[in-house]
C-alpha cells in the first residue's frame, strides 16, 4: 500500500509536468503578443511593451520560460499577472476558496440526494417512486444550468425573496448556486446508483447471504450498498474534480467570484500567468482526487489489491 502510494505520487508529478508543458507550448504558439495587446485598440508604446516583455521573460525561448516557471512553481511562486501586475497566488487565492466552497456544497448535495434517490428507486423498482425518480432525473439532465439558475433567481430571489439574488458572502447565498450546480450531477448519481444496485441485488453472493438467513438490513448495508457504491465513488471523484476546476456558467449567473470566471477572463485577455496557474491547480486537484478514489476502492472492496 505504502509503495503503491509512493509510485502513484511519482506518476502524479510526471502528469503535472506534462500537462503544464503542453499548456505552455500551446500558449507560446498562440498568435499575437499578450503584452502588446493589453492597451486595447490603442497602440502600445513600443518601449513600454519591450520593458514588459523583459519583465515577464517573454523575450526568452520557450524552454527557458518553462524552466523558469517550473523553478518558481517548486517554490510556490506562480508569477505575476499581466494586467494588475499582482502575484497570481494572491489573485487566485480568494477565488479558489470561493470555488472550493461551492464545489463542496454541491458535491454534498450530489451525494445525499443522488444516492438516496437511486437507493429508493432500486429498492422499490417500478413503484411510483421509481418512476418519479426516472422522470425527475430526465428533466434535470435535460435542463441546461443557466436555465435552472435563472429560474431559481426569478422565483426564489426576485419573487419570493428567500435567498439573495447573487453571492454576498453569506451562507444563504450559497444555496441557490450549489443546488443549480448539483442538480445534473445528482441526477446522474441517482441513475448510476439505481443501475448498479439492481445489478448487485441479482448477484450470487447476495442470494447466498439471503439464503443463509441474514437479516435484510445486514444484507442491504453490508453486501449490497457497499458493492454498488464503487462506480458511484468513481463518478463523484471525477465530478468533484470538475467542480473544483470552476463552474463558469453558474459562477457567472450568481456572480460567484470563483476561478471558472477568472479563467475565461484570462483567456480573453491572454493573461497567460493566470491561465497557467488555474490549469496547474486543476490538474493537481484531478490527479490527487484520482488517487483518493483508487484508495477508496481498496477500502470498499477487499478483492481489489493495490500493488
Amino acid at each position: 500500500m505504502g509503495k503503491y502510494v509512493i509510485r502513484r505520487i511519482g506518476q502524479m508529478v510526471i502528469v503535472l509536468f506534462g500537462a503544464t508543458l503542453i499548456l505552455f507550448a500551446c500558449l507560446f504558439v498562440l498568435p499575437g503578443d499578450p503584452v502588446g495587446s493589453l492597451g486595447g485598440d490603442k497602440a502600445r508604446d513600443p518601449a513600454v511593451v519591450q520593458e514588459l516583455r523583459e519583465r515577464y521573460g517573454l523575450d526568452k525561448p520557450l524552454v527557458e520560460q518553462y524552466g523558469n516557471y517550473v523553478t518558481n512553481l517548486v517554490k510556490g511562486d506562480l508569477g505575476e499577472d499581466y494586467t494588475q501586475r499582482r502575484q497570481v497566488t494572491e489573485v487566485l487565492g480568494p477565488k479558489l476558496q470561493n470555488t472550493a466552497k461551492l464545489a463542496l456544497a454541491a458535491i454534498v448535495l450530489d451525494v445525499v440526494i443522488g444516492m438516496l434517490a437511486g437507493l429508493i428507486a432500486a429498492l422499490f423498482r417500478y413503484s411510483f417512486w421509481d418512476v418519479l425518480v426516472t422522470l425527475l432525473t430526465t428533466l434535470a439532465i435535460g435542463f441546461p444550468s443557466f436555465v435552472i439558475g435563472s429560474i431559481f433567481q426569478s422565483q426564489f430571489a426576485v419573487k419570493l425573496g428567500w435567498f439573495p439574488l447573487i453571492s454576498d458572502g453569506s451562507f444563504n447565498s450559497l444555496i441557490m448556486p450549489a443546488v443549480t450546480l448539483a442538480i445534473i450531477d445528482a441526477a446522474l448519481v441517482a441513475r448510476l446508483m439505481r443501475g448498479t444496485m439492481l445489478e448487485v441485488l441479482r448477484a450470487d453472493y447476495v442470494k447466498t447471504a439471503v439464503a443463509k438467513g441474514l437479516p435484510r438490513r445486514t444484507v442491504l448495508f453490508k453486501h449490497v450498498l457497499r458493492n454498488s457504491v464503487i462506480p458511484v465513488v468513481t463518478y463523484i471523484g471525477i465530478s468533484f474534480g470538475g467542480l473544483l476546476g470552476g463552474a463558469l456558467i453558474t459562477e457567472a449567473i450568481f456572480n460567484w467570484d470563483g476561478i471558472g470566471f477568472a479563467l475565461v477572463t484570462a483567456i480573453q485577455q491572454q493573461n497567460n500567468p493566470i491561465i497557467v496557474g488555474v490549469v496547474t491547480y486543476g490538474v493537481a486537484v484531478f490527479v490527487v482526487l484520482n488517487l483518493l478514489v483508487d484508495l477508496l476502492y481498496a477500502m470498499l472492496d477487499p478483492r481489489i489489491r493495490l500493488s
Binding site: G39, R86, K95, A157, P164, D168, N172, T265, Q268
Partner: protein
Amino acid sequence: MRGVARARWAVGAVAVALVAAGCGGTAGESKGVVRASWGDPQNPLEPANTNEVQGGKVLAMLFRGLKRYDPKSGAAENMLADKIDTSDQQNFTITLKDGWTFSNGEKVTAHSFVDAWNYAANLDNKQKNASFFEYVEGYDKVHPASGNATAKTLPGLAVKDDRTFTVRLRTKFSTWPDTLGYAAYSPLPRAFFDNHAAWLKKPIGNGPYTIDSYHKGSAMRLTRWDAYPGPDKAQNAGVELRVYTDNNTAYTDLQANNLDLVDDIPSTQLKNVKKDLGDRYINQPAGIIQTLDFPMYDPNWSKPGLEKVRRGLSMAINRDQITEQIYRKTRTPATDWTSPALGEAGGYKAGLCGDACGYDPAAAKKLIQDGGGLPGGRITLTSNVDTGSHRVWMDAVCNSINNALNNDRACTVNPVGTFADFRNQISEQRMTGPFRSGWQMDYPLIQNFLQPLYYTGASSNYGKFSSPQFDNLVDEANAESSADAANAKFQDAEKILADQMPAIPLWYQNGSAGYSDRISDVTLNPFSVPVYEQIKVG
C-alpha cells in the same frame, strides 16, 4: 422527552433559517450610499497606468487635476489650476489655486504635479499612459524608443514655487492645456512614492471621495470626503462599487432592487430596457468611434484614383439600418471622424464627411466603377471577433456593399480569432483590405481624434495614411492661439479625410446606463463614466 427536545430544535432551526432568509435581501444596503456595478480594473490603479473605464471610474472619484471636463458640455474648465498662461503656445506657466490638499492632509503643490508627471513619463515605471507626456520637451531622454533612459526627470518641467511650475513643449500645441483634464495628469501625494505597495492597496487622492475598503476582485467602498475643498462635493454619502462577472447578472440585480446603477446594458436586454426602466435608461454618444481603415501601405489601395473606390465603399454602407437593427440605436451613424461627445467647444461639427457618409447605392456603384473597380475584383473585411458583435456588423456591412454592387461575392469577412492576433496582423502591416479600428478618446478635443490616427507616422495610424496637406493643417491648428481658430483648422483637416477617405467612419458608439428609482440626477460624462458625485440618493 427526547422527541420534544428534537421538535423544539427543529422549530428553532426553521426560525433561524427564516430570519436569515429575510435578511438576505437587505444586507449591505446602507443609507445614502449608491450601489453601482463595476468590473475588475485591468491595470494597477495608478493614474498614468489606467486607460480603461473600470479603473477610470475610481480615478474619477479619487482625483482632481488641473482641469476638469464639464460632464455636460465636455468643455475643459480650471479645477486646481488658477491660470495657465502662454505667449507662444509652447511655453506654459501653470499657477495652482490655494487650499487644495490630499485626503491625508498633505498640501497639493507644484511638486505634487511635477513628481507625478516625471514618474509617469519615466520608462522604468512602465506606465501605459507614458506617451501623454511625449509633447513635453525631453521626453525622449526619460522614455527613449529603445535602450535605457538617460534622465530621471523631464527637462521640460520646472518648479518655480509651491504654487507655480512651468512646462516647455517640444512643439507648439495651443490646446495642450485642455488635455490636462485627463486622469494621467493627476497630482500624486508623497505616500505614492514613499510606500508604493501600501498606496496601491488603498490609493489616496484629492477628489471628493476617499477609499474605505478595497477587496480586489469583489468590491470597493468609497466614502464622501467631508473636508473636500473643491466645488463639486459629493451629493451622496458614498459609493459602493461591486464587481459583476457578467452584465446580465448586474441587470437582473438592478431589477431586483439590489443595485442602483449599471453602466453597461447587456445587448440581449436592449429590447426590454425601455419597458423595464422607462426614463431611468440613459443612451448617449460616448467619445468612441468605429471606422474601417484602408491599408494605405498597400499600393493596390493607395494608387491615384482609388480614393473614388474608397468613397464609393463608404456610400454603399447603410449605416442607419445597421445601427437600428443590430445595435438598437446604441450606435449613431457617423458623419465625421470625431464624436458628438466633444461638443461644439471640443470641435465637433456634424456632417463634415458630406455625401460620402450618406447611403446612396447607385452613386456608390458608379464611383467604384469610375475608380477602376475593387482591387482584385473583391474586398475582405477583417476584425477580431472574440468580443463585441464584430462578426455581426461585418456581415451586415458586406451585405450592404454586395447589394449596392449587385454582386454576392464582392465583399467577404475575414474573422480573426483573438484580439491579440488581430493586433499583431495590423502592426505587421499584413492587411490587404479594410480592417476594423476603434478609437476611444483620451480627452474631449478634436485633436485627439485626428492627430494620433491620421498624421504621418502617428502612433495609431495603422493604415499608414500620409497627406502633407493634412499634416500642415494639423500643425497650423496646433499653433493657433485660440481654441476656435484651432478647431476650424482641424475641421478643415477633416475635409481632406472626406476627399481621401483613408478610413470609413461607421458609427459613434453610445454609452448606456440604467438606474433604480432609489437614486436621481444620474448622468454620464463624455467618457461614459457615471458622474458619481452628482447622484442623489432617496
